[in-house]
């Protein structure tokens, strides 16, 4: 026989004016299992809570129903009060007499009757409540950061500086990402490499950071606080412990005509190469696809010239296992190539380039050492056309979103061009100028007003080559849609920022969701911008959507703060409102038959297979098991399970069944 206490709150006049609270308490007192019932003016006030605590102690209550405001309001308050009186907090339920009753109905018998029935439903539910204890999950205090661009660098440094171990994985031979390719950065025009390279070095030297370059995530298993990452270390074909980074091999390599990724295809590199002079680590890798030795078995020049005999042609990929407690995904973005644009020549015209390629032309470390020379013949272009929104905001191209960074970098490009080519003429075709950001609008105005960049509001319909010139045909919508035709020497397309290659596969490995454009999805666009729907996995930077550097760094630090917050706990404490697969004595072990259809229903991959073995280790039965670290308590599996072998703590079948029957019982 249970001993439930029922406490009806008047909430001042809020409930009391329409519901006869005394009558509700009186009715409650006569309900089966109720040992004590009373009403009070303000149950959430200190004296109100004391009243509850005293009643619990005095009447040895084993369950409490508080008839008050919505549980979304004061459930934590009353559960805490119960806990303070020694009652398990999960034995306290709230009957919503305010939002669902007194505020929506007029004063009268019907309303009071409804209040009584609501209380009755919850009394019957609470009689079947079980005491629950919060779930403690241990945490491995080591983070995995995937992607070594500025976002990954920032996140890794922030976490490492909080005193936690970090593993940073980068798929390229060097960290640095797109930021290392940029010339100057808006709106301050400070040199990108000058601000980035110190950070790269800091990563390499940080005692808390383990850096794996030329490496990729192979798989990730486990759950928040307890992930196991398998990381593939691609064979670099050198012994890094011997290599001194002298660079002799790269100067002697006879394969010199490979398009350089770092220079966005505008420069050339060798088969054994360091992507750029400031690379971290500054040790070469052999590109097996282009290396003569790997292709034909001949050559081997690098092996011969290496003073420390560090070349290892026979090296193979290695897979290492790392235990981590949290993952930060910072895999960045990419830009569309010019070959995406038939109207602009499908990538056939050498002098139609992307914004990223222009960065390399403008960069002091680039193929032209910072001089603006067009790729086809190396001449300095006298007239350059910049086209914003190439692909972006164009549903016909399948990219309805704004790539966000193009307005600003196009203004910067035009400005840099004007600074470098005196007497040059530049045009920017744009749809709108989106310069929201600190000092951004001023920057664009400077390009227009001080550097005399010609801004033309309109789209470019077509580019074609004629007599060595690129004919750019567009329209000026501010001049009454006048057709504009410009004979340009070079055209720079601000091509859309798109998700990085392989982002879909990575998302599937991590079990995180992504949007139709394969950018990773945050748990909530506003309130949980760096979390994913998979607990313990965070995202930052342009892998979520195109972002500029300040925003990327801000989200990276945000994600790092989330990781640090997670690691600051001795262990992970979670609400015990999770699903549980029943267990019983042998030979049944569990009524679960192991069909594992629940696995396909669970949005959180929280359902695992558990093998029940006999003493000799032979598997007797395979049954489902809910990982309480992952389960969020939605209960979809519970409703689906045919044999009712899964139940949801706090909303169990017995509780809900009893509540439904009780709510209808007082009929007639």
């Amino acid at each position: 026989m249970s001993k439930i206490g029922v406490f009806i709150c008047h909430c001042g006049e809020n409930i009391g004016a329409t519901v006869d609270c005394a009558k509700v308490a009186e009715a409650a007192a006569s309900m089966e299992g109720v040992a004590f019932a009373t009403d009070y003016k303000y149950m959430c006030s200190d004296p109100g809570q004391t009243l509850i605590k005293n009643a619990i102690r005095e009447h040895r209550l084993d369950g409490v129903v508080v008839g008050a405001c919505s549980p979304r309001m004061h459930e934590p308050t009353f559960r805490k009060a119960c806990a303070e009186a020694g009652l398990n907090p999960y034995l306290c339920e709230i009957a919503n007499l305010r939002e669902h009753c007194s505020w929506v109905h007029p004063k009268g018998d019907d309303t009071t009757e409804k209040a009584i029935e609501i209380v009755h439903g919850l009394v019957e539910k609470v009689r079947r409540n079980s005491p629950l204890t919060p779930i403690h999950v241990p945490i491995t205090k080591k983070a995995l950061v995937i992607g070594g661009g500025i976002a990954g660098i920032q996140a890794a440094l922030d976490i490492a500086n909080c005193g936690h171990k970090v593993i940073l994985v980068e798929k390229e031979p060097s960290i640095g990402g797109h930021m290392s390719q940029l010339s100057e950065t808006f709106p301050t025009l400070d040199c990108s490499q000058c601000i980035l390279t110190p950070r790269m070095v800091e990563v390499a030297q940080h005692p808390n950071i383990t850096l794996y370059t030329y490496a990729e995530l192979d798989s990730l298993s486990g759950f928040i606080g307890n992930f196991e990452a398998k990381i593939r270390l691609k064979a670099k074909s050198i012994d890094e412990s011997l290599c001194t980074g002298c660079g002799l091999c790269t100067t002697k390599c006879p394969q010199k005509k490979i398009p350089s990724e770092f220079n966005a295809g505008l420069g050339r590199r060798t088969a054994i190469y360091v992507p750029f002079p400031q690379a971290v680590p500054n040790k070469p890798v052999i590109d097996k696809e282009h290396c003569t030795h790997y292709r034909t078995g001949k050559c081997g020049v690098c092996e011969k010239v290496c003073p420390t005999h560090a070349i290892r042609f026979g090296q193979e990929d290695r897979i290492i296992n790392e235990q981590v407690g949290a993952v930060v995904v910072t895999t960045g973005f990419n830009v569309l190539g010019t070959d995406f644009f038939p109207e602009y020549g499908y990538g056939r015209y050498a002098d139609v380039i992307t914004g990223l390629q222009f960065e390399r032309l403008a960069s002091a470390s680039g193929p032209t050492l910072g001089e603006i020379r067009r790729p086809s013949d190396g001449k300095v272009p006298e007239k350059v056309v910049f086209i914003a929104c190439c692909g972006s905001r164009d549903p016909a191209k399948g990219i309805p979103y704004c790539s966000k960074i193009c307005c600003m970098y196009t203004a910067k490009h035009a400005m840099l061009y004007q600074h470098k080519v005196h007497g040059g003429e530049s045009y920017v075709f744009y749809m709108d100028i989106r310069a929201g950001g600190k000092n951004y609008e001023e920057f664009v105005r400077r390009a227009i007003e001080e550097d005399h960049v010609n801004y033309v509001r309109g789209r470019v319909a077509r580019i074609y080559e004629k007599e060595g010139k690129l004919i750019v045909k567009g329209v000026d919508t501010l001049l009454g849609a006048t057709p504009v035709e410009i004979e340009a020497d070079m055209v720079v397309l601000a091509t859309a920022g798109v998700s990085n290659q392989g982002s879909e596969e990575l998302a599937q490995k991590l079990h995180i969701s992504y949007d139709p454009y394969k950018f990773f999805a945050e748990a909530h666009p506003k309130l949980r911008p760096v979390e994913t729907n998979t607990a313990g996995i965070f995202v930052a930077g342009a892998c979520q959507a195109p972002k500029d550097i300040p925003e990327t760094v801000a989200t990276a630090s945000g994600a790092a703060a989330k990781v640090a917050a997670l690691f600051s706990q001795p262990d992970l404490v979670r609400e015990p409102l999770v699903a549980v697969v029943n267990r019983s004595a042998p030979p049944v072990f569990s009524t679960c038959v192991g069909c594992f259809m629940c696995q396909t229903a669970c949005p959180y991959q929280a359902i695992e297979r558990e093998e029940i073995k006999d003493r000799s280790g032979k598997v007797i039965k395979v049954v489902a098991k809910v990982n309480p670290g992952l389960c969020q308590g939605c209960g979809t599996c519970v409703a689906f399970c045919r044999s009712k072998s899964i139940d949801l703590q706090g909303f169990s079948n017995q509780q809900m069944f009893a509540e439904v029957e009780a709510l209808l019982e007082t009929t007639n």
Binding site: F341, P342, E343, Y346, R348, A396, R462, I463, Y464, E465, K466, I471
Partner: protein, 281 residues
């Protein structure tokens, strides 16, 4: 496959040679085309600028007739008719209210079962596989494939070929041994909408097209639209006024080019009807 044929007004007037060459090529390849009985005007040019209902009702009647007469698809060689029929089918499928109104006005309902195909689609789907054994001699010329505006736009309605750089005609030309050039004016405007009222503009716009084709070494311009053809062919005097140097580059319907490769007579293909003489074999 029961293919209906909708010639529209152009193919019975200014572009009789298009009509003749489509039928001649189909007959040579053993493909059956049945003209839709009692067809009417598609309403191009005028109707859609005056009344939406009228602009849909006219093609709707044609489509309803085609459906009633049991055709699976209708070949519409005229790009303008093709465009109007397709737009009407698109609107009828998306606007129940309009469909009901139009159905009442026409006196027949159209359920949307008939597929509307342009000449390029038709050739690709039916003729391409028959060509290899039938070609008498290759049409070995450099050609500029000119698609014009109506065959590919609006893309969300027609869903045909690549919007900015269509390729279907280029492919057919390769199939008969021609060499399509890479050029910039495939879908540029020829000025057809102003063909009668502003011949000066037509001259200028069409001159851009012919000039570029010539400069890039094309020996002929190939089209699949009566308006394109009449502008580029008939308005040659106006065009030549806008060019630094007059051009006599001929303009052929795609079916004429294919007909030549199939060894059909020049008369059967109506080549004698052109203003600019076609000397190519």
């Amino acid at each position: 496959m029961n293919t209906g044929f909708y010639p529209g007004c152009s193919l019975n007037g200014t572009s009789r040679e298009y009509n003749e060459s489509v039928r001649a090529v189909a007959a040579e390849l053993g493909l059956k085309l049945t003209e839709i009985d009692d067809w009417n005007c598609c309403g191009a040019t005028a109707a859609h600028s005056m009344s939406r209902e009228l602009s849909v009702a006219l093609p709707a009647r044609v489509l309803a007739l085609a459906e009633r007469q049991g055709f699976d698809e209708v070949l519409v060689p005229c790009a303008s008719c093709y465009n109007r029929l397709s737009v009407a089918a698109h609107e009828l499928a998306r606007d129940e209210e309009l469909a009901a109104k139009v159905g009442a006005a026409v006196g027949m309902a159209y359920s949307g079962k008939v597929r509307i195909v342009n000449v390029l689609q038709y050739l690709q789907e039916h003729a391409a596989q028959l060509l290899p054994g039938k070609i008498r001699h290759n049409f070995a010329h450099r050609v500029a494939c000119y698609y014009g505006c109506l065959l590919v736009r609006p893309h969300k309605v027609l869903g045909f070929d690549r919007l900015e750089d269509p390729q279907s005609m280029d492919g057919m030309m390769r199939a008969i041994g021609a060499e399509p050039i890479d050029w910039a004016f495939k879908t540029e405007c020829c000025g057809a909408g102003l063909s009668v009222s502003r011949t000066d503009l037509v001259g200028k716009l069409s001159a851009n097209i012919l000039g570029d084709a010539r400069d890039r070494g094309a020996e002929a311009v190939v089209v699949a639209c009566p308006m394109c053809h009449s502008n580029l062919d008939m308005r040659r005097t106006a065009i030549n006024k806008c060019l630094d140097e007059p051009t006599d580059i001929p303009v052929l319907y795609i079916t004429q080019a294919i007909g030549l490769a199939l060894g059909l007579s020049r008369k059967a293909l109506g080549l004698q009807r052109h203003i600019v003489e076609v000397k190519l074999q």
